[in-house]
Assembly symmetry: C2
């Protein structure tokens, strides 16, 4: 279960009522008319699971994922969170960056006999992904024809798809109406996470339940939050997600891509719009970023995320240290309690400083909760994007850098 | 060597000349009058190294660091970067967060017979640090009296210092005029990194050389950059550090604390001022944050950091894949070249979008370069803090949350 607290109260102005109503209807029509595909993934990807069950994957104990951006961030987010409750989960190794040291280090971790390789690229020709894939083919002398240890995940008819067909390599497609950063519940996330041993069915169910609830009109707080973020975008241009759990770090990175790349756009009037996402982790970042939130410019709002029950009972023992006796009041307290009390106390201090915040509480770490969190942030992104009147689903700004790179490297 | 490119041209207005001149003199007097201690650390900590050489540390192959914020971020930054050029470096295990899952996971990594424990807290009573320390004492049944495997790093006469004296535990002090986030070149970083096998002397030398150069008036670009960041603070309120190397990730986290916590302040006129730091990594975040930089609000400037020579020759092999032949132009290219070309191309595209940026190039990964980078960012922070007329070295905003926590936990 997710609990939402300190949510935005309902805006009663006719403008606000109209705006949230239009946004809700826009999302509904994007879904009903199949213009935007992510809404249907929690249901559609159930079929994919049936397909996956027919594969013989028993020999694989290392899942190598070659992908970047939308082709890795969501998978990493889920792997990081669920790994702690999935004792049999297989090792996942991610090749993302073109950093030579990381590539060399990751290669050294791979045992070819136990590994399967997921090559993931929506376009089919992402330069990091194809370059690393070639490097792995060369290094491990991978057989391509009829390979049972290689899987391609890409758009239908993409260059990577042509490659897979040619070599009779198993291929999964991303629906054409699902953008990369909205694709984690498509084959992009479903296939590697299933092979890694995660309960993907439950993730999809959690996503579906939240989606159903939203479109049934039972998540009004989400509409109010979107409206608040939009109407305060000029003043509060930075949206901080402050997660009290190390394992949510990759989730915040997924959020940063989703939010930044979807909303940072030139709108239909030619204006540069968008909101800047920042992900930080508690309690550590109380000792880093918090001072700026409390006393710096009032240009931020904060969403706290905490996990009520980590299912871990490690406690501060009843030890009194000479000189440090003043910390004895905390003896016998579990770290589970400490970190959640730190979250509450920090949120209270942030509110007292006049900075807006809300809180999402996961009752515990579960597949359903992570599925719901993914859909929550995807819906919020679509709602705010609609209000900004931008195309939430493209990313034209990154093309120029690619062109310059291709030209510069081609010239050499 | 560090190379600075696309730097800010000299401001010729009398106001600008005056501002940079005053800021430079302020730093010089902070140093000369010993009001701010970090300027002298590259020299003073050389003595510390002599002290450290007298310790018998041969039995330790795991360095456990218990610290948070300024007592961990700088150490992690240096460990991450230099580990790749220090084949004999010992394993470092960091206990920072109050996250119960991370604490349990880290405990499982420790081999008591091979481990030494650095407990680091400037105040001596940081709640995460003392709680985790007690937990380790309890779990491993650590002997405290005359312990040779425990080291305390703290302020003179702090509660942790009293504890260390009482048990005859080796203690290192942080100069009282050095704040936590400026303390990495004090015992905080020097002692654990030395024991871990790093060439700390060279780090200090690199820092000292840059410092000397700055105070000799040879780093005018730094004054111009500070002046630019200050005068454009309202419009460009977000300072992004875009590092093209995975191993610089922890360096950007260190930067985020330094920048955010030093400058995010209520100024002497009662106004909330500050600049928001963001650390991202290339090429991965080209697929995440870049779109927002290029098309989103013009509220950011970007400092690119790259490493010319990773000393790694892994290459994209001469393999042509059916369907993906259009990427063949990049065959034979090293990843070292690819990532640096990506940095250049991205920087060019960012400039063409009208967003300000500059670039710092490390010729290679070296102790001297990391020492210089630390001093570079510390000086920049002090300069901008002086211009903002804030107290760069305190953090009053985080006290309220602590009080609320203590009250809430004490009440239970």
């Amino acid at each position: 279960m997710l609990y939402f607290s300190n949510t935005i109260s309902e805006e009663k102005s006719s403008e606000g009522v109209e705006r949230t109503s239009v946004a809700f209807k826009t999302l509904k029509s994007e879904m009903d008319e199949d213009r935007v595909g992510y809404y249907k993934l929690p249901i559609k990807s159930q079929d994919l699971l049936e397909d996956l069950q027919t594969l013989d994957i028993s020999q694989f104990s290392q899942i190598v994922v070659i992908g970047i951006g939308g082709s890795s961030l969501g998978i990493k987010a889920i792997d990081s969170i669920l790994e702690s409750i999935t004792p049999d989960a297989k090792e996942m190794i991610f090749f993302e960056n073109s950093d030579p040291l990381t590539i060399s280090e990751n290669i050294a971790k791979i045992d070819k006999e136990r590994a399967c390789f997921f090559v993931i690229s929506k376009s089919g020709s992402t330069i990091e992904t194809t370059s690393i894939f070639k490097t792995l083919i060369g290094h491990f002398n991978l057989e391509l024809d009829n390979a049972k240890n290689i899987f391609a995940i890409t758009d239908k008819d993409s260059s990577l798809s042509k490659f897979a067909s040619f070599h009779n390599i198993k291929e999964f497609n991303i629906p054409l109406n699902v953008g990369g950063r909205f694709s984690v519940l498509s084959a992009v996330g479903v296939a590697p996470l299933y092979v890694a041993g995660y309960d993907v069915k439950a993730i999809l169910e959690g996503g579906d339940e939240f989606l159903e609830s939203f479109f049934s009109g039972d998540e009004n707080h989400l509409l109010q939050k979107a409206n608040y973020l939009y109407t305060n975008a000029k003043q509060e241009s930075i949206n901080v997600v402050f997660s009290y759990a190390d394992r949510l770090n990759n989730f915040t990175k997924w959020y940063v891509q989703l939010w930044g790349e979807s909303l940072g756009k030139i709108d239909k009037n030619g204006n540069r719009v968008g909101l800047t996402p920042i992900g930080i982790i508690g309690s550590v970042d109380q000792h880093s970023f918090l001072q700026l939130i409390i006393e710096g410019p009032k240009d931020k709002n904060i969403t706290f995320i905490n996990i009520d029950n980590f299912n871990n009972d490690i406690k501060i023992p009843d030890i009194s240290l000479y000189g440090i006796e003043k910390t004895d009041f905390i003896n016998h307290t579990s770290f589970n309690t400490l970190i959640n009390e730190q979250c509450s106390a920090t949120m209270q201090s942030v509110m007292e400083s006049g900075v807006s915040c809300d809180k999402i509480t996961l009752d515990t770490i579960s597949e359903k909760n992570i599925g719901a969190m993914i859909i929550y942030y995807e819906l919020l992104t679509s709602l705010v994007g609609t209000m900004f009147q931008v195309n939430t689903y493209n990313q034209p700004g990154v093309e120029l850098g690619k062109k310059i790179l291709y030209k510069n490297l081609g010239d050499k």
